[in-house]
């Protein structure tokens, strides 16, 4: 067992964990933060994407011990004072989700993009989301939602 201290969505947790414990399982099974789901075992789907010290990562491909001393933000920590993050609002308004399983990862990946590139083109958005799979939407409304959240006019 290894002792870790991780700040998740603003709260600091101290825990003893097995070194092999995946960050996503730490979030889900130990902290009960089930907003971040698991969609694959090869880091392809991106459903588990969270923010680790200011960068998007796939939490299924990070060990909890690697997050020791770090700060994690999940989709559950995005809203401020009950106000949704602009991406959460845009996903809702633009129908960028159907089953919603990929949505936490999509939003976290899109958030990362907008931090680096606040004014992306549609193609930029598609490239930035290459590691996040959705089976429902065909991605079109996701792209529109990210563009809308960046403050761009989206006509269709």
């Amino acid at each position: 067992m290894t002792r870790i201290s991780v700040k998740v969505d603003g709260t600091t947790y101290e825990d003893e964990v097995e070194p092999r414990l995946l960050l996503v399982h730490y979030l889900r099974d130990r902290l009960g933060l089930t907003g971040t789901p698991v969609g694959c075992d090869t880091s392809n789907c991106g459903a588990c994407t969270v923010d680790l010290d200011g960068e998007s990562v796939k939490s299924c491909s990070v060990l909890a011990v690697q997050a020791d001393g770090s700060e994690v933000t999940t989709v559950q920590g995005l809203a401020r004072d009950g106000e949704w993050h602009p991406l959460q609002s845009a996903f809702h308004e633009r129908h960028a989700l159907q089953c919603g399983y990929c949505t936490p990862g999509m939003i976290m990946a899109a958030r990362d993009l907008l931090r680096e590139n606040p004014d992306p083109t549609a193609d930029d958005v598609r490239q930035a989301l290459e590691g996040n799979l959705c089976r429902c939407t065909g991605y079109q409304n996701i792209v529109r939602a990210v563009l809308a959240a960046s403050g761009q006019e989206v006509t269709t």
């Binding site: 933060l33 089930t34 907003g35 392809n44 989700l97 919603g100 290459e130 590691g131 991605y139």
Partner: protein
């Protein structure tokens, strides 16, 4: 007391009520469920496609830390029945026994052989490695044609054959004589590769027992909580009334969760034995083996026509890969397609035969479209080949044969009566959005210049049968249940509304759409409606969600139930307003007396008056709640025209979609934004079949594309923008005029893409590229055509 609703809800692009939880992570996926004392189940699976099980020893696993129990197949066999097949399509179908866990023999790589139960998922995974199993390999059965040979090794030795069934359909005139008078007869073979559905949420099941009273709650990532309850009761012997099935948030299905899975039965059986709650969650790569696959067919199709391009007849011989066992509707999937091969075209004769074949692979079953994409692919591909043969533009050939809008209702050669449609309008609109003529001239220029990157244009004019299904038809098809749907509406004392539906959404937006329907009929605000679903205790009756049926059948039930509520409320209103029912008007939720508009009661006020029951008409039950079950009178028939332009790099073989236009006619639309989303997603999946996806097996029957790194689900970076349009020809078989939209995109898009690829390469002599049209396959097709040309020159 309440706001008056004046704007119609139906037809509005309402943002979804479902989203709030999903975008904030406040979800309730089955794997999120945690209860005191929860145990985790892990399943050891066969590493071989076909083998005799000589020995299973789970004792070493029991010694591992954290392990509570471990079971072999034999340990669990007693008391567990066969997994059900609800669609034995012929009287003499071969129905093998299908134990939820293998006992004597494994028949596909992934067949369960042992179950370990531990205190957490890590301990359970570890303990699997301690289970000892001895196998004697048996020959795999992988080739559909070879499997039917006399001396072929057998998947189910006790059945004496790999032939599961032969299902014929001959309609219209005699095909052989029609063929005689044809000027042109074309025959082609198309292969529908196996696909893995890939709902983003892996399957999961949680069972919580109330051991003292023998009651069980099953939470499952399923599309079919109602059907699952009945079937699990039959498989495990837990009486139906002691079993509650809940489909919590379900992360997509696409047919893969239209199933009664062995793991669901095993979890229930283990919970029964241990008296403890258990959870099983599949990993993605485990799901690739354990969750049913789709497609997997060889299609021999022959079309007979005149020189002028008039279709005379169609003959289809289908070999359908059942996989190792028959699951819930495995044999029926190709039969759903049987009626769709003639598509939107008029012809005199149709001759169809499907042979179901057992193989040592993961069972097949419904995957988005289920039989209809396969049929549409074959007919739309061969229509293009016929157009070339006759020297006609592919759209002109379609025009010469499709049912004209003034001919509806029209009984097509396969026997279905299409109630409505307007293929001309959809096609004209699509052509205009696409810029067909400009693309054709660019294509010609590129061909003349011998460009490395060629342009191709593909069309697909499809229809489908949706709204499954009229129960009488299901009887005739030997399906094991009816096709009705149920809805009830509860008017709460404060005027709020609960709609209870038997459909079970997993991304489709039923909560939003059913709210829109109920809001309009009842005249209550959209926000005042809640929709309950997916829990056999809360929504006890239903036939669940698949086959683009939910709106057409379930939405219709909501509409009728709401109308019943209005009629009951009218009696109360008349009584309270001291008027005759005939003198009452009902608009926007308000009953008023004709001629004296100040005498009025809202339906929400009446809900309270009914709750108090102080002053109801004599003899009236103190409720305005209502229930309605509807059995559809016909299928519904969405249709549309999809156009795809591709650029094919003839040096590398890579295909890039340049533009994609679709105009779909799904009848009246409840929520245009949701409909558009359904089309986007459907088209994406159809494109994925055309270009990317295939469950590849090696010669020993191992799944080679066994992880998401090997099975190529396209991302946003791999797919184009879609241009969508609609025409709206209402269905006549339901009061909503709706036709269904869940599968349309998938059905239409695959042939549009492949037709475009072949069209791009036809000047190079290519006439066929097998799916998925990988760069290598495209390159090989070009190379073969080149060498063939060189040889003949």
């Amino acid at each position: 007391m309440t706001d008056q609703v004046t704007e119609r809800e139906v037809g509005r692009s309402r943002a979804r009520k479902e989203d709030a939880r999903l975008v904030t992570g406040q979800t309730n996926w089955t794997d999120n469920i945690s209860v005191n004392g929860l145990l985790h189940l892990a399943i050891l699976r066969s590493p071989m496609a076909h083998a005799r099980i000589d020995r299973v020893d789970v004792a070493p696993a029991r010694e591992r830390p954290g392990v509570v129990a471990a079971f072999s197949g034999r340990d669990l066999a007693e008391g567990l029945g066969s997994l059900p097949c609800a669609w034995p399509v012929t009287e003499d179908i071969v129905l093998p026994d299908h134990p939820p866990i293998a006992v004597d023999e494994v028949r596909y790589a992934g067949d369960p052989v042992a179950v370990v139960v531990a205190r957490d998922r890590y301990a359970a995974a570890d303990a699997l490695e301690a289970v000892e199993v001895d196998y004697t390999p048996l020959p795999p059965v992988l080739d559909l044609e070879a499997a039917l040979a006399e001396d072929a090794p057998l998947v189910h030795a006790d059945k004496g054959t790999n032939r599961c069934y032969v299902w014929p359909l001959a309609t219209g005139e005699d095909y052989a004589s029609v063929r005689q008078r044809a000027d042109v007869v074309l025959k082609r073979r198309y292969v529908q590769q196996r696909l893995i559905p890939n709902a983003m949420e892996p399957r999961a099941v949680v069972v919580t027992p109330l051991a003292a009273s023998g009651e069980y709650t099953v939470y499952s990532a399923t599309q079919i909580p109602h059907i699952l309850r009945i079937m699990l009761s039959m498989v495990t012997g837990v009486p139906e009334h002691k079993l509650r099935v809940i489909a919590p948030d379900v992360g997509g299905g696409f047919g893969s969760k239209l199933q009664v899975y062995g793991e669901e039965a095993l979890a229930l059986a283990v919970a029964q034995r241990l008296g403890r709650p258990v959870k099983w969650t599949e990993s993605r790569s485990e799901g690739y083996l354990a969750t049913h696959h789709g497609r997997g067919m060889i299609q021999d199709i022959e079309i007979a026509a005149t020189d002028e391009g008039k279709l005379l007849g169609l003959k289809v011989d289908l070999l359908a890969d059942m996989g190792a066992y028959l699951m819930l509707v495995t044999p029926g999937i190709p039969i759903l397609g049987a009626f769709m091969y003639p598509a939107i075209y008029k012809m005199d004769a149709y001759d169809f035969t499907c042979t179901g074949v057992f193989t040592t692979r993961t069972p097949t079953d419904a995957y988005r479209g289920a039989g209809r994409p396969e049929a549409t692919y074959a007919i739309e591909r061969i229509m293009d080949e016929l157009a070339v043969e006759l020297g006609l533009d592919p759209i002109e050939l379609r025009r010469r044969n499709w049912i004209r809008h003034e001919e509806f209702p029209y009984t097509a050669v396969a026997g279905l009566t299409y109630d409505s449609g307007n293929y001309e309008a959809a096609t004209d609109k699509a052509l205009a959005l696409f810029g067909y003529d400009a693309l054709r001239s660019e294509q010609q220029k590129r061909n003349e210049h011998g460009d490395v990157v060629r342009l191709g244009i593909g069309v697909s004019t499809y229809t489908e049968m949706c709204g499954l299904a009229p129960s009488r038809v299901l009887r005739d098809l030997r399906y094991g249940a009816g096709g009705w749907e149920a809805a009830s509406i509860r008017m709460l004392p404060t005027g709020k509304v609960e709609v209870v539906t038997g459909t079970s959404p997993h991304g489709q937006g039923h909560v939003t759409c059913w709210s829109q329907i109920a809001s309009d009929v009842l005249g209550v605000p959209f926000e005042d409606v809640e929709v309950l679903h997916g829990d056999t205790k809360a929504a006890p009756q239903g036939m669940d969600t698949y086959g683009s049926r939910s709106l057409v059948v379930g939405g219709t039930a909501v509409h009728h139930a709401a109308q019943k509520v209005v009629e009951k409320a009218r009696k109360v209103a008349a009584h309270l307003l001291e008027a005759s029912e005939h003198d009452l008007e009902f608009t926007h939720g308000v009953f008023s007396v004709k001629g004296s508009p100040e005498a009025r009661k809202t339906i929400q006020e009446i809900a309270f008056e009914t709750f108090s029951s102080h002053d109801l008409p004599d003899g009236m039950e103190p409720t305005i709640n209502a229930e309605h079950l509807v059995d559809p009178e016909n299928f519904s028939y969405p249709h549309g025209t999809h156009l795809c332009a591709v650029e094919v790099d003839t040096e590398t073989g890579r295909t890039t979609i340049r533009s994609y236009v679709c105009v779909d006619d799904v009848g009246r639309v409840i929520n245009p934004m949701i409909v558009e989303g359904q089309v986007h997603g459907g088209v994406a999946q159809g494109i994925a079949q055309a270009l990317y996806e295939e469950a590849v097996y090696d010669d020993e029957g191992n799944l080679v594309s066994g992880t998401m790194a090997d099975y190529l689900v396209p991302s946003a970076a791999d797919l184009p923008e879609f241009v969508t349009g609609r025409t709206e020809t209402p269905a006549t078989s339901n009061p909503l005029g709706a036709k269904g939209v869940g599968e349309a995109g998938t059905i239409a898009s695959t042939p549009a893409v492949v037709n475009a690829i072949v069209d791009a390469l036809r000047p190079l002599g290519v006439t066929e590229v097998a799916m998925p049209c990988t760069p290598q396959r495209v390159w090989e097709a070009i190379e073969q055509a080149r060498s063939g040309k060189d040889g003949s020159a």
